[in-house]
Structure formats: structure tokens, C-alpha cells
Symmetry: C2
DNA sequence: CTGTTACCGCACACTATGTTCTGTATCTAT
DNA sequence: ATAGATACAGAACATAGTGTGCGGTAACAG
């Protein structure tokens, strides 16, 4: 990827994140982002088709990191091979904590729901591998609840209670959801 | 309230609901609603300031019914005095089932999240009265999870699994969430 | 019967969007 | 180092949707 492209892409992302801290997503216009990033109009549209695509791209960039397995070895926390489901969850929470600053803005207002929707998609894959469901409950229901409760946990944590540790959050989650 | 006003309001609501079954909320324009309802442009704006206000008004109209206590006496189900929390929940599920047709369209796409956000506001009040939280878990966390899990339950139920009875749904919920 | 109110429908200013074009700067490969 | 490709700036443009304003008509309430 061209250096100029990376630079512009980065300018747009940071402008977008910065604006999210003062403006709501829907009230924010493409023009606002262009002005904040200080780039040409056509340049923006060369990178992203719409404002929604920009949001999606930013979310994906964050999740690529949060759910990446490559980074495990680089970690100082010893979750090299996720023996238990709880370890895997705690590990994801650690990664989310690292990206806290980037994520915080995304929670504000309407795009918080978009962020959490994308988060759920990734979580669904992780949970699908580990979850064991009681036989008197439909599996897809249990999945939905487990994922929704976890994404709500993340929202609660990073939006005003970020002083708790990943381990504590993990404990809260597993004591509240019966899976 | 004037008969003409009620008529127009109703026309707008039904037009909006009808459109939601073919178009997504964001792609839907005020003009679309006006055309579908077959009313004048200025008439729409005399009733609702924005599209969002319309959505809000529709949600509120539904919830006013679902969470109303007056209707209890009219019910054939005997939940006259909600002795237990579970009874109260089951009762709400019955009311949601009645409004199923109106609600179904609201789940599609982006406005589903708006609907669920408003639903959560009402649920928060109900849960706040009944919930008893373990002392090693923050109360506001437990509340958030309980409410989020229930709203997700409602989404799952009405969006593709509406063949289950309110009692079954209630059981699923209380077996999955540990409160 | 009369004053009030809601509606129609048309027009208008305004804002944001997405595209297109030309010239310039920056990168890449031979 | 030079040549061709690519990304960017800046401006112009058509398009579409928004919200408001006004005169005329029909329905309502007392």
C-alpha cells in the first residue's frame, strides 16, 4: 500500500475519531470529516464510498487486532494456548483494553450500536467454538444471549467503569450469565 | 384530539410500518412516507419534526400499551397482582405478543436498535423494582446485563421464533441469566 | 351559521451528497 | 535520473432531500 494512501487513510480515521468526541455520528457530515482531516473532497471518496463504510472500516481495523491470534505470543500475559473459554474471554478483554482510546469515541450515540453489532459478529465465531448449551434451551438462543450479554459487558466496562481489571470483568460476566 | 389529526397520524404510522417491510430505515426518506401515506408535505411536518421523532412516537405508542397496568384487568390471563418478578416478565411478553405485527417491521435494519434502546428504558424501570443482586457484583452492571439479555430475548423471539409461548420464553430467560 | 383548525399543494432556499475534471506532487521501476 | 503511473488538491456541477412559508379548501365545534 502506498505511503500516501496510508497517510490519508490515517488522517481520515483520526479526524473521524476526534469528531466523534464532540459530534454525534448522524449529525456529522462527510464535509466535517474532510475539513477536520484537511483533505480534498474527492480524496475522501477515493477511500470510502460513504460515511458508513468509513465506520465499518474503522471497526474492522480494531477487531482485526482484538481478535487476532498472532499477537498472543507478543503478549506478556500468559494466554498462549487458551485452555478454557474463560481464558479466551479474558484475553479478548485485555486486547479491548489496549484499544480503549480508539474505542471510547465509537460508543457515543448511534454508532455505538453499529460498533457493538460488528463486535457481536466476531464474538459469535468465538463463542460458537467454546459454548456448551443446556439441552433444554435452544442453542441459537443461548448463543444470542451469551454474545449480547458479553457485548453489553464490554459497553458497560469501557463506558464509565474502565477501572476494573479484565479478570474482574470476566468474573462479573460468568457469574451473571449461566452458560 | 381532532378526528382529522387522528386519521393523519394513523396514516403516517401505517405508511411508516408498511415501508419498513420493504425499505431500510436510513434509506427511507420523509418523501417516501409522505407518498405512501398520500398526504401533503407540510402535513407531515405539522405532526412530526423529523423521521426520528416519528420512530420515537411509534415506539412510545407501542410501549404505552405493553407496559400499561390499566390493561391488566382487561386481560384474560390472571396476572392481576404480579406476585413474582417472573410473572411480571411473562405478562410483558404476553403484551408484546399482542403487538407482534406492529413490532415486527421495527426490527428490520437500523431502527431495530432504536426500538430496543427505548424498550430497555422501560425495562430498566421494571427491573429496578424487582431485581435482587448478588453482593459481589455491581448493581448497575447486573441491571444492564439483565435488561440487555431480556431485550435480546425479545428480539430473538419475535424475529423468527414467535412460535414459542411467553411462558417458554420466560423460562429460557431465567435459566440463562443468573440474577 | 360562524369562527377555527387541519389539510393540500406548490414554491423556495438551503444543505449535503457524490461525481468529474484539470493540474500538481509523490511514488516506483528501469 | 528519467519516465510513467498513481494519489492528491481544488473547484465545479448535477442531484436529492430537507424544512418552511403561504394562499386556498374542506372539515370540525359551538
Amino acid at each position: 500500500m502506498d505511503r500516501r494512501q496510508r497517510r490519508t487513510r490515517s488522517l481520515i480515521f483520526t479526524a473521524f475519531s476526534t469528531l466523534l468526541e464532540r459530534k454525534s455520528y448522524t449529525s456529522m457530515t462527510v464535509q466535517d470529516i474532510i475539513d477536520e482531516a484537511d483533505i480534498g473532497r474527492s480524496t475522501f471518496y477515493a477511500h470510502f464510498e460513504t460515511k458508513d463504510e468509513l465506520l465499518k472500516a474503522l471497526c474492522i481495523e480494531i477487531f482485526e487486532h482484538v481478535f487476532s491470534d498472532e499477537l498472543l505470543s507478543e503478549e506478556n500475559h500468559d494466554f498462549s494456548h487458551h485452555s478454557t473459554f474463560k481464558d479466551r474471554i479474558t484475553h479478548i478483554l485485555y486486547h479491548l483494553q489496549e484499544k480503549q482510546q480508539s474505542i471510547k469515541g465509537l460508543f457515543s450515540g448511534e454508532c455505538g450500536e453499529v460498533f457493538l453489532r460488528y463486535l457481536k459478529e466476531y464474538l459469535y465465531c468465538v463463542f460458537d467454538e467454546h459454548i456448551i448449551v443446556k439441552d433444554n434451551i435452544p442453542r441459537d438462543y443461548a448463543m444470542d444471549i451469551a454474545v449480547a450479554a458479553f457485548s453489553e459487558t464490554v459497553r458497560w466496562w469501557l463506558k464509565g467503569h474502565s477501572d476494573y481489571t479484565p479478570e474482574e470483568i470476566s468474573r462479573f460476566y460468568f457469574e451473571s450469565v449461566d452458560i
